[in-house]
């Protein structure tokens, strides 16, 4: 059998394979770099970066759930300057693409980060619009099509790299949101960010998370994520990075068959530090089993 071709193209950027890290679960790669060869990853998606350092929420910031977890990190990050100084040089030491996840509390915040990254050596930008919009009473940017189109359009004005927009699943009509992002000029979509959940410690009679509610991730949420990738793939033309509960190569294949071009591994890293590589090898195993030579032939075949 000839060599497997796992290359995928996200908005003009070619990745050696579809496997990436999900933002916020992999730091900027340094820590997991002690457990996996970062050269083997299609891309490293770094934690959310804001224009200035953010301290994030109080602890506890994590709660375990049945087959999943909640987090309320609150986008703690060292700010874009520190990121440019420390993390880009580190990652450029590896043969992998760099995708910068961007956090903001206002449209201006987002634009500031994107502008600052204009001459930085990174490959793609991922706009996390699950953040609360402080100017609109804290309602999440990603829940209103008009707000989505507006923020994407503004950010695009400053973006020198292709722009991935990462959507929240906590909406009535994900297709309307995806189309709004497309209309705003998004080059690609990341699906999905975390669901909104809560866990109560019935013995202490209070929420486990200091922040009360948190973002729900892990294998428990996979059916929601697959459904959203499928719906959006059928109704927009943008390349999709699929995520939400990917633990194995088979899970990744499920997202690809649903319509995803790339796949990101998040919570699974915490359970298995080599999850990214195991997912990659699982994808290869599936392709060999069915004699598929090109990963792109599996995309959206459902």
């Amino acid at each position: 059998m000839t060599k497997l071709d796992l290359r995928v193209n996200i908005a003009g950027v070619e990745l050696k394979n579809p496997v990436m890290t999900a933002s916020g679960t992999f730091g900027s790669g340094k820590e997991y770099g002690e457990y996996v060869d970062l050269n083997r990853l299609g891309a490293v998606v770094v934690k959310g970066i804001a224009s200035t350092p953010w301290k994030g929420n109080a602890s506890p910031r994590v709660a375990e759930t049945y087959g999943g977890m909640l987090n309320s990190v609150g986008l703690q990050n060292p700010g874009v300057e520190e990121f440019i100084k420390t993390d880009i040089p580190f990652l450029r030491g590896y043969d992998t693409k760099i995708i910068v996840n961007i956090a903001g509390r206002t449209v201006e915040d987002y634009c500031a980060v994107v502008e600052r990254l204009g001459d930085a050596d990174v490959d793609l930008l991922e706009l996390n619009i699950s953040c609360p919009n402080v100017k609109e009473g804290g309602v999440c940017f990603g829940t209103d099509p008009r707000m989505v189109e507006h923020v994407v359009k503004e950010v695009k004005k400053y973006a020198k790299q292709p722009l991935i927009v990462k959507l929240t699943p906590n909406v009535t009509d994900i297709v309307a949101i995806a189309k709004a992002a497309e209309a705003g000029g998004a080059d690609s979509l990341s699906l999905i960010n975390t669901l909104l959940g809560m866990v109560i410690d019935i013995h202490k009679r209070k929420p486990v998370l200091a922040n009360v509610v948190g973002g729900f991730s892990g294998p428990a949420i996979k059916p929601v994520a697959v459904r959203i990738v499928y719906q959006v793939a059928k109704s927009t033309n943008l390349p999709i990075i699929g995520m939400g509960g990917i633990m194995t190569g088979e899970d990744a294949i499920e997202f690809i068959q649903a319509g995803a071009t790339g796949v990101a591994v998040g919570t699974a890293n915490f359970i298995n530090p080599t999850a990214t590589i195991d997912v990659l090898e699982g994808i290869e195993g599936y392709m060999k089993q069915y004699g598929e030579e090109n990963i792109n032939n599996l995309r959206g075949i459902v």
Binding site: G24, D37, G56, S59, V62, F270
Partner: protein, 257 residues
């Protein structure tokens, strides 16, 4: 490359009501292990995803064996307690920053309470000089003989007065009026806070081992942070208990509740 390994259970038995001692064989995990570090244990149940951080109680680099002592408090530790000799479990470590050990210090005071006691056994083994250990328990003391076997002078307090002084470690401090050069402490937050207040008043350098809920255990996910400050700073920052700790200097820690 570092890695998660399959460790073999050599022993897993109750040493007190609800308290278990587990000895695992996992050579790779013992090589660099130091006192105050911890390991991640993974449950063999699909619904319990996150690793359980457990302190290293003792490590034997020659045999590649590691001793862990844990209390059953929830589903994960219950699952661990049901493991049998010969079975294997996922484990990763050593993780985190352990206690700083200085050979210039001659008078050591270890203050530990409840399930904060286990990591102090390996600490005693790695210290030189005179070691005094104050241990506080609700009721049944654990690991007292181990401390004594490694040459420490041990004083025990129990809340129900069943063994040693009736009360807690602060009572032992009051009774013995210790004057050590270095303090090491691990246990429930109120105890740590009390120890910190006293040691600050006495101006004795103090290392505290903190606890926080974790996910990755290696510093990547930022869920396990605690508020800290740099010695002279006015501002504070959230640092990772799993990577920057679990052991911090007293003066780094900000007590926010």
């Amino acid at each position: 490359m570092k890695k998660k390994v399959l460790a073999k259970v050599l022993l897993n038995e109750a040493i007190a009501p609800n308290n278990f001692k587990m000895v695992i064989s996992a050579k790779e995990m013992t090589v660099d292990a130091t006192a105050g570090q911890f390991v991640n244990l993974y449950c063999n149940r699909g619904e319990l995803l996150l690793p359980r951080p457990i302190s290293i109680c003792e490590v034997n680099k020659e045999t590649g064996e590691m001793t862990l002592v844990y209390a059953v408090v929830g589903k994960g530790t219950k699952e661990l307690s049901q493991m049998k000799k010969g079975e294997t479990l996922g484990a990763m470590g050593p993780l985190g920053r352990g206690f700083e050990v200085s050979y210039e210090v001659e008078e050591h005071l270890i203050i530990a309470g409840g399930i904060g006691v286990p990591p102090m056994v390996e600490l005693v083994k790695s210290l030189k000089g005179n070691i005094t250990v104050y241990l506080g328990f609700r009721s049944n003391p654990i690991l007292v003989e181990e401390f004594e076997a490694y040459g420490a002078v041990v004083h025990v307090a129990t809340e129900d007065g069943s063994v040693g002084l009736q009360g807690n470690v602060m009572g032992l401090i009051k009774e013995h009026q210790p004057k050590p050069q270095m303090i090491y402490s691990c246990g429930p937050k109120p105890m740590l806070k009390a120890v910190a207040d006293w040691s600050k008043a006495e101006d004795i350098p103090t290392q505290l081992s903190l606890e926080e809920r974790m996910a990755c255990g290696i510093g990547a996910c930022l869920v396990c942070t605690c508020r800290t400050k740099k010695q002279e700073d006015t501002d504070w920052e959230n640092r990772r208990v799993c990577k920057d700790g679990p052991v911090f200097w007293r003066d780094e820690v900000i007590w926010n509740d």
